[in-house]
């Protein structure tokens, strides 16, 4: 299976130079090899394992309010803020709001 590192970079919003790209490609190929090996095992009749635990159903909690974080604590941790808001670079690059 051919690995499209460029696509993975795009989806993960990460940038690498050519050297790093090659390294990453190698890593992925190793992982894929392992997966191919696993795929060769006959698992007929075995249920897929979705979760790394034995819980068979989801517990639900009461719809009751609890204590959260204070705004100042959160804003302090944010790289950038504006009044009560956390500020981030726009994900809509190239689309200017009128």
């Amino acid at each position: 299976m051919e690995i499209d590192v460029k696509k993975i970079m795009k989806l993960a919003k990460l940038k690498f130079n050519e050297n790093e790209e090659l390294q990453i490609k190698k890593h992925f190929q190793k992982m894929l090899k392992l997966v191919e090996k696993l795929k060769s095992i006959d698992v007929t009749g075995v249920d897929p394992l979705y979760y790394p635990h034995d819980r068979t159903y989801l517990r639900r909690r009461k719809d009751k309010q609890g204590k959260g974080l204070e705004r100042y604590e959160v804003l302090e941790n944010a790289p950038d803020t504006f009044t009560d808001y956390i500020k981030a670079p726009s994900p809509l690059k190239g689309i200017k709001k009128k």
Binding site: Y50, Y51, R61, K64, G68, L69, R71, A88
Partner: protein, 478 residues
């Protein structure tokens, strides 16, 4: 018309569920609070924070599924939908995917061609993203109060064939959701959001290329946006062109749709089962319990009102469009003898007043029982409809007591002897009108009624006057 093109419309709807807290954390679910005051490590996506499912969100979603006749799945699963966007700091949204909470179901709507079922494809529970405000300088301001609010996602099959049908469907859906007390569905607050898929085809042929329409912020936007998009696609197709698959934004100020994004490389959300959440299991007993809590829904109520109270279908429909109004009607109907008069009175006199003053029935001053008693004076012929109307208006606009005005009116109501005398007098003085009537000019009856009403200074019941006049003059010669 061989060239006739038929629109095919499907809707994707998001409904904010009316819970106390968010879907996976204990933060308050509240609209309009100071930004970033209902936040915690879970809804901010801090590493290591774990989601715990809110039982009320499941209950509300199941109520909707039951009311819309969907198949509830005993086991459904949560997935991670991966994408990087500042409104979802975890880097993924927890949603349902291939194993939905419910599939199927339908809403029946009334169209110009009769009843039609709009089928539903699926219903999923998922978490809301934060609210983003885009600034002029290309940044985004984030309010995480909205992050993690429970949403019910609902997808319809492309069963609608006109903007009118889409709007009717949404109105019906909103009504049902309000009856269920699942959501207020205020589109301005974003409690109900709608995207539409629209394509055109010649009837009987396979589906055309669809366009996804976004930014539909009101029912009117849905209707107008779809109409404009249909016209745009029609022009392209009739000119021999092809529609491209894309997402378009409706601009309600410019009255146009415009490209938001052309189908880029297909979305790659890399869904996988959320490892932090085991499957959601719904037991039969839970469904049975919930069924018992379902209220009577608008369609059932309408049918019952028609059969139980013998009122017209149109009147029953108006009453059933608002649960509180329907309740008011039923309380008054315990007392009022003439249910048709009552229904009509509520629809005309009360709704007129409420709409004019932008009030809800809960804010209406006159109690249902009081109204019932009041209207009994009309149905027993002790008070004319017009007089009752006047008294009612005076009560509402001058804040006078209904009881007091009623007593006053009853003491001044004209006696039948006096009315008889006046009618005789009017007939004597207007022989030529009576002749005209007998010669077939039945329109003059109105003039005669007017004269009698004037003589009685409005104290008589016009309907009764008409009856007496007709019996006295006899029928016109034919």
């Amino acid at each position: 018309m061989e060239n006739k093109l038929e629109p095919v419309i499907g809707l994707e709807i998001h409904i904010q569920l009316n819970t106390e807290t968010k879907l996976f954390c204990k933060c308050k679910n509240e609209y309009g609070a100071t930004p970033n005051t209902h936040i915690c490590p879970v809804c901010l996506g801090y590493p290591g924070a774990l989601p715990v499912l809110n039982e009320e969100a499941v209950r509300l979603a199941l109520k909707v599924a039951l009311a819309l006749h969907a198949d509830i799945h005993k086991l459904s699963r949560f997935y991670r939908k991966n994408y990087f966007y500042p409104d979802l700091p975890k880097g993924y949204q927890i949603t349902q995917y291939t194993e939905s909470l419910a599939t199927g179901g339908y809403i029946e709507i009334e169209t110009s061609k009769g009843y039609k079922r709009i089928r539903l494809e699926r219903m999923n529970i998922e978490e809301e993203a934060a609210k983003s405000i885009h600034t002029d300088t290309g940044e985004v301001l984030l309010d995480y109060n909205r992050s993690g609010i429970p949403l019910l996602e609902m997808v319809t099959l492309p069963d609608m064939n006109s903007p009118e049908e889409a709007r009717t469907f949404l109105e019906k859906l909103r009504l049902i959701l309000r009856y269920l007390e699942v959501s207020e569905c205020d589109m301005e607050k974003g409690e109900l959001r709608v995207d539409a898929n629209i394509s055109l085809r010649k009837p009987g042929e396979k589906l055309g290329v669809k366009v996804e329409l976004k930014n539909l912020n009101s029912f009117k936007s849905v209707y107008d946006g779809l109409n404009h998009e249909i016209e745009r696609q029609k022009k392209i197709l009739q000119g021999g062109g092809t529609v491209i698959q894309e997402t378009r934004l409706w601009d309600e100020y410019k009255k146009e749709t415009r490209t938001m994004r052309v189908k880029e490389e297909a979305h790659d959300y890399r869904y996988f089962p959320e490892p932090d959440l085991p499957p959601l299991v719904v037991r039969d007993t839970e469904i049975e319990e919930l069924k018992k809590t379902l209220p009577e829904l608008p369609d059932e109520k309408l049918k019952r009102f028609v059969s139980q109270y013998n009122i017209g279908k149109d009147q029953a429909r108006i009453l059933s469009l608002n649960k509180n109004l329907a309740d008011y009607f039923e309380r008054a109907a315990q007392v009022a003898e003439d249910k048709r008069l009552l229904a009509n009175w509520i629809n005309v006199e009360i709704l007129g007043y409420l709409n004019e003053n932008n009030l809800g029935i809960q804010e209406f001053r006159i109690h249902a029982e009081e109204l019932g008693e009041f209207l009994n004076y009309v149905s027993r012929g002790k008070l004319s409809y017009n007089m009752a109307k006047d008294i009612f208006k005076k009560t509402l606009y001058n804040e006078e007591s209904l009881k007091h005005l009623l007593e006053e009116a009853l003491s001044s109501t004209i006696s039948s002897q006096e009315l008889e005398k006046i009618i005789n007098k009017v007939l004597e003085e207007n022989q030529e009108l009576v002749e005209k009537f007998r010669n077939g000019k039945t329109g003059v009856l109105g003039a005669l009624i007017g004269k009698v009403m004037k003589e009685t200074r409005g104290r008589a019941d016009a309907r009764k006057v008409k009856e007496i006049l007709e019996s006295k003059i006899g029928s016109p010669k034919t």
